[in-house]
């Protein structure tokens, strides 16, 4: 791993900015900084969001696991539990539909001039994050712990040592989903 590069703090901040610029550029070109495209996905009339996410996940999955096999990268799976992923995920989902952007694309929407994203979305997300920080000690002791499984990955859950045994079939399954979307003309 490029440990020496990872330790250079200011250079890393610059890299974060550069990666963000490319990310924002791609999100805007993909159309997902547009409220209509996000809502179209949730109403199941426009599958742009799913196509971008699936293509990104497949490409990323193959490359990152290859880097990992070569000793050039390590994984950082987020810890989770039923209480965090399911309940948090559903709250997020409702916010997704009500706002019509998500934390990445709301920043991109601001960049293309959407004022509802700036004064509604960004301000709201900041307030929501603050509310969570205030509730955190109480939630931490209760609901966030329900069904805790920690930093688990699918290969670990399936007790497979070689991650590729899971990566390849999952990649094929996701490609099949994309193929199905095209087949259905979505």
């Amino acid at each position: 791993m490029l440990t020496r590069l990872h330790e250079q703090k200011n250079l890393q901040l610059l890299l974060g900015l550069l990666i963000g610029i490319v990310f924002g550029f791609l999100l805007q070109k993909g159309g997902v900084t547009d409220y209509n495209v996000i809502i179209g996905q949730l109403l199941l009339t426009d599958f742009t969001v799913a196509k971008i996410m699936l293509a990104a996940s497949i490409t990323g999955m193959l490359g990152v696991h290859l880097l990992r096999s070569r000793g050039l990268a390590q994984l950082h799976p987020k810890p989770g539990s039923l209480g965090t992923s399911v309940i948090g995920g559903l709250i997020f989902g409702v916010g997704f539909a009500v706002l019509g952007y998500y934390p990445g694309t709301v920043a991109g929407a601001v960049g293309q001039g959407a004022l509802d994203a700036l004064f509604g979305g960004v301000v709201g997300i900041l307030i929501g994050s603050g509310i969570f920080a205030a509730l955190y000690p109480r939630l931490q002791r209760s609901i966030l712990r329900v069904g805790d499984f920690g930093e688990l990955t699918l290969p670990q859950a399936l007790k497979v040592k070689n991650a590729w045994v899971v990566v390849i079939p999952v990649a094929f399954a996701l490609i099949a989903m994309l193929w199905l979307l095209e087949l259905l003309g979505l």
Binding site: L13, K29, G63, F92, V98, S129, A133, L152
Partner: protein, 172 residues
């Protein structure tokens, strides 16, 4: 350089581009691409401006210090990158009310603003509750095959589809 000024790229090209970008994030920065933690840190920074250093004692900000970090810079980059892209294609325009919203609920900016604010609050709360968003869980987490992320990403869409159907097919 005609393609830089195109309004839209194929979703597959964009997705593959984001996937490749994530290789560089892991290789060069040892980080998965994510966005929502940056909002939590900013919220902490703003709270610190008002309430002072005791904010730093909050358990959540012990875990996620309210400071500018790699991911925070990434979110700033997203605004800049989207602005450049929109400028190149002429898509940049100041907008208060998106057309899909206007078709069901009218062009009044106050209602749209209020609803966007409520949506933002739910999203901020949900993203921190789930420990990530559509980028951190939906793309970076699924590509790492993290169980938490697959579960969260599925729930994002279950909640999102149900709420969108309710808003546009029942209320609107």
């Amino acid at each position: 350089m005609n393609w830089l000024s195109m309004v839209r790229w194929s979703p597959y090209m964009v997705g593959i581009g984001i996937g490749i970008l994530s290789w560089f994030a892991f290789l060069l920065s040892d980080k998965p691409i994510g966005c929502s933690t940056a909002y939590a840190r900013t919220s902490g920074m703003l709270e610190r401006l008002v309430r002072g250093d005791r904010v730093l004692k909050k358990a959540y900000y012990q875990k996620f210090a309210p400071v500018v970090d790699w991911e925070w810079m990434l979110v700033v980059g997203v605004v800049i990158g989207a602005f450049i892209s929109a400028q190149l294609s002429g898509a940049f325009h100041v907008l208060w009310v998106p057309s899909t919203w206007a078709a069901s609920f009218g062009t009044g900016p106050v209602l749209r603003w209020l609803v966007a604010l409520i949506g933002g609050v739910l999203m901020g709360l949900g993203a921190r509750w789930a420990g990530g968003c559509t980028s951190g869980h939906g793309i970076s987490g699924t590509l790492q095959l993290a169980v938490s992320s697959w579960l969260a990403a599925i729930c994002f869409f279950i909640g999102g589809i149900a709420a969108a159907m309710l808003i546009f097919h029942i209320i609107g």
